[in-house]
Amino acid sequence: MITPSQTVGPFFAHGLPYAGDWEMAPEGHPGAITITGRVLDGAGEPVPDALLELWLGETGTRGVLTREGEGACGFGRCATAPDGTYRFRTARPAGPYGSLLVFARGVLRAVLTRVYLEDVPDPLLDGLEPERRATLLARRDGDVYRFDVRLQGEGETVFLDY
């Protein structure tokens, strides 16, 4: 039998975040983009104690934990700020999307979603109603992609079964 999930709780700040965790690509990395947004609860209030993990499919040449080495890394982690915001500086993924996990107090098992940087024909996107599809599409503004996670209620983000 598998081990059940339990919430990350409110007090992970001394355990999980690490120096440079959100800097998957170093400053000045050619072609680097920023993925940023807010995590919101069912009342539309920001979630100030969430932890996000972004995975692009390849570990890359930069250290996951030390952030040493050249190039970029495909894994990042970011705790939300008091206003519910997060950010990742990253190289572009090889495909149209990155995989995003959200942990928080009150979330008994992390929710899994995808951040699509492009609206392309896609087996997952194409199976969703337009309103639901839109929750997975980041809004581009130059090198910055904005992606909010709505845990519950109106505009609730599409989460994946895993």
Binding site: M1, I2, T3, P4, S5, Q6, T7, V8, G9, P10, F11, F12, A13, H14, G15, L16, D41, G42, A43, E45, E53, W55, G57, E58, T59, G63, V64, L65, T66, C73, G74, F75, P93, G95, Y97, G98, S99, L101, F103, R105, G106, V107, L108, R109, A110, V111, L112, P123, L124, G127, L128, L151, Q152, G153, E156, V158, F159, L160, D161, Y162
Partner: protein, 222 residues
């Protein structure tokens, strides 16, 4: 269902944070990035990271313990070189976190965070201090049973697991909505470490064994 449901109303914080719609199944194809996960280098994790009693100038107060176990897949195969992270309260039940208001002492010699990579048998090992129970404001007279938070990666992003390890025989189990959010009693038992005489070290520390079993990936289900 082994995992707790999103909405578990006894645990108040779930009420506005649990998604209301069912999760969407996704078809796994060879390009599905969720079937892979980050690879960690041994040079990235040092031996001191796994001994939470030696991260400061002095020794922390409390009952020294060894916590060890294996990270396995559902078929019982070891998951090697995967990252295991732990964090916990100190012996008095206080976290080294600015928002923890429990009026119990901080310990200048204990931060309560560690990490290590599993070996070729999927084994991890931490030396730490037994954490204390602590109150929280979920309901009147709410106390969390003593626990150590675990974060485990596995080989696929869909195996990613954050959980909590409890200590055997804790009288707070029936009163804790977080532990009780796991509905299946047999599944709840998987969250409780076993006291282990083979891990216990003479004249030094009690030992506990806690194995972590990660789920299959969707690809394997097809």
């Amino acid at each position: 269902m082994i995992h707790p449901p999103n909405l578990s109303s006894g645990y108040r914080s779930t009420i506005l944070r649990a998604p209301s719609r069912p999760p969407v199944p996704f078809k796994a194809d060879p390009d599905t990035i969720e079937l892979t996960g980050p690879v960690f280098g041994h040079e990235e994790v040092g031996a001191p990271d796994a001994d939470l009693t030696r991260q400061h100038a002095g020794e922390p107060i409390g009952e020294r313990i060894v916590v060890t176990g294996r990270v396995l897949d559902e078929a019982g195969r070891p998951i090697r070189n995967t990252l295991v992270e732990v964090w916990q309260a100190n012996a008095a039940g206080r976290y080294a976190h600015e928002l923890d208001r429990h009026p119990a002492p901080l310990d200048p010699n204990f931060t309560g965070a560690g990490r290590c990579l599993t070996d070729d048998e999927g084994r991890y090992r931490f030396v730490t201090i037994k954490p204390g129970a602590y109150p929280w404001r979920n309901h009147h007279n709410a106390w969390r049973p003593a626990h150590i938070h675990f974060s485990v990666f596995g080989t696929a992003f869909t195996q990613r697991l954050v959980t909590q390890m409890y200590f055997p025989g804790d009288p707070l189990f029936p009163f804790d909505p977080i532990m009780q959010s796991v509905r299946d009693p047999a599944a709840r038992e998987r969250l409780v470490a076993a006291f282990d005489m083979d891990t216990t070290e003479p004249e030094w520390a009690l030992g506990y064994r806690f194995d972590v079993v990660l789920g299959r990936t969707p690809m394997e289900d097809e």
